[in-house]
Symmetry: C2
Subunit: 394 residues, 2 copies
């Protein structure tokens, strides 16, 4: 199903004000999502926060179903959270690592995750192995296979789409290798969810973290965590409270049997309902159509940019996505961003992932090269892309 661009733009208030090419930061939420959030906040004002939550109990339960449906999981494998990277980190910190084992990661991991990984490695005496890139800049699946064959692997952790590179890592191939080796596969899908179809069976991942505010077009402060039911019992939740446990006769309390063992008491119910609405909205549009339009807009942008003599496009990969990174000779990324903002074009600035992971892991000083990141979504237009390119021409 192809995207009706006019219709989705009519449902997006922000397109009247800005050419929003910062969807990898945080998308413009569509009206139905905004109205769901605001509607629940109004209801809380009218009858009270707990009373409104009680009234919305079925709809809140449906959020778990929607998220599960989005990624081909079951509702009891989903926990809701406020931050995708925090959800990811809580799961990682809840895993009973065997000291001396090895953690395999990619070279373009999300930097915040790498900081958590270094902490984890120190606490659990783990060795972190950074897998090579293949010639296309993606994680090298042959290198992965060799490391798996060497054994002593605690887990493979991969960022599906890097923060500042247009590539999509071959997660399904990684998943097949992990499954064959019987090794846990943790996928950070914060930058991929919402811009392409995801299915935990085809991906072969055991844990997946996603965020609401990026390509899913959900509210800020919303995220989710998937943990495969068959491995859930191996995780000993980092922090137990009245949410992650249930009363039981024998022990007084015990850890919940579902993925909500990773949740904490109290959350923004309005935000969670908004996340569910965003997922339903994406599902109704169809993720195949979303991916097709996002991919085609991004390719148009890369082609137009590459034709400008002063511009270098940095994206790697065979399969590419909505993230386009580039730099302009003689202009700092921050200045480009500011100048585009003056013309109501939103882009962001991000560090090139190339050396950052190694620098964080080794604790060496590094001055990351900053690039401009323009990230398109299906509601962007060819015209917005031409406006961006036109300004860069000048």
């Amino acid at each position: 199903m192809s995207i009706d661009v006019r219709a989705v733009r009519q449902q997006t208030r922000g397109v009247l004000n800005v050419a929003h090419l910062n969807n990898a930061g945080s998308s413009l939420v569509p009206r139905p999502v905004a109205e769901t959030v605001v509607g629940h906040l109004r209801r809380e004002e009218e009858i009270g926060g707990y009373e409104a939550a009680e009234e919305a109990a079925d709809r809140l339960q449906n959020v778990y179903c929607s998220v599960a449906h989005l990624i081909g999981a079951r509702p009891n494998e989903i926990a809701l959270a406020e931050s995708g990277s925090r959800a990811w980190a809580v799961a990682m910190h809840s895993f009973p690592f065997v000291p001396g084992t090895r953690l395999l990661i990619g070279r373009t991991e999300y930097a915040g995750n790498v900081i958590a990984l270094r902490q984890l490695a120190r606490r659990n005496d783990l060795q972190i192995v950074v897998l090579d890139d293949d010639p296309y800049g993606q994680v090298d699946v042959e290198h992965l296979q060799r490391e798996l064959d060497r054994g002593s692997v605690a887990m493979v952790a991969l960022t599906h789409v890097p923060m500042a590179d247009g590539l999509v890592n071959p997660a399904a191939e990684v998943g097949r290798c992990c499954r064959a080796a019987g090794v846990l596969f943790v996928l950070d899908a914060c930058q991929s969810v919402g811009q392409m179809p995801l299915d935990v069976e085809s991906l072969g991942c055991d844990v997946l973290a996603g965020t609401g505010r990026k390509f899913l077009r959900g509210p800020r402060g919303t995220a989710f965590l998937y943990v495969r039911a068959s491995v859930l019992g191996r995780f000993d939740p980092l922090i137990l409270d009245g949410m992650s446990t249930v009363s039981s006769g024998a022990e007084g309390f015990e850890v919940r049997g579902d993925a909500r063992r990773f949740e904490s008491w109290e959350a923004s119910i309005a935000g969670r309902l908004g996340l569910g609405r965003a997922v339903d909205y994406a599902l109704a549009l169809g993720l195949d159509g979303v991916q097709e339009r996002v991919g085609s807009l991004a390719e148009q942008l890369r082609t137009e940019l590459a034709a400008l003599p002063a511009v270098t496009v940095h994206d790697h990969g065979i399969t590419r996505c909505g993230i386009v990174t580039f730099s302009v000779k003689g202009s700092e990324a921050g200045n480009i961003r500011a100048r585009l903002a003056d013309h109501q074009i939103n882009v962001s600035v991000a560090p090139r992932p190339s050396n950052e992971v190694q620098a964080i892991l080794t604790g060496s000083s590094h001055a990351a090269e900053m690039v401009v990141r323009a990230s398109v979504h299906y509601y962007n237009t060819e015209d917005e892309i031409l406006r961006l390119v036109g300004l860069l021409c000048r």
Copy 2:
């Protein structure tokens, strides 16, 4: 300054619909708080989530100043969070406990905290000592002093106002003892903040956790953590990421120097701005006046209830607050709650804290006695209390 009840009710949409006596669950937010939250959400819709956050950067920084002002702290001693009990637990789990030391707690601790404490004790080989109540049902300060004198105390952790008892624990006395003994004092102020003045100097606490949604009248999913600057360096954050660390030349990254080392990447900016607005609203009313009105309404309610033959009021303590707990002979608490809800009166049901702490700690089976909890705020009226009592008469 006494509360202008008519004015605060005009600023509270919900009072037209309900007699909201569930302020210990979640208060009705006042209009300025709701408009702050919705206003920011609209701005995110209009120009993008990150762009709106950048525009609100100064106001967001002011939230830390407001919260600090509310409790007599400094802005760099404040972290914002989504859940008060999660913030409390993250701080507790970040403390480097010496195995074999003792953790002193009260008998009416928040049950969720006790679950976390039991997990902490198991992980760190700590002994949890439950302090006696004094004859007024408060934590027994003399017992505390004896235990401090015995030594080997890692920390004293206290819930300021229990979830289901009208008492206010003598936190300042506890603080004085802790300070004299050089022992860390952690105060869970989720049920006290917003209904009475709090000052970390007079309380003598080193860590304080508070929530937005209860007596502060802030949005759901908002909370804060205070950690005294002089002890901050002793906490090794449970989870490090790009928010809790800063880039530094020498090590690649290091833990932040302020309390935001406990924050995680990504949050609802709208919620945080709403929390700040709620704090400013409370400060403008004046917490002395708030406490006076809340105390007087609660005393009226206790007196009226005590006059009913079938009703037993369960509150203890010398200083009492807005929480009133009671039971009705021959009627289950849940039924009372449902019947009152039919008449647009919001109350809640809660377990009596008496034996719950011991039951959780020893892992013994317990069927907590459930009581009705009616919790008043300054915007409630004498008339609403009479309506509640009138219905119970029937």
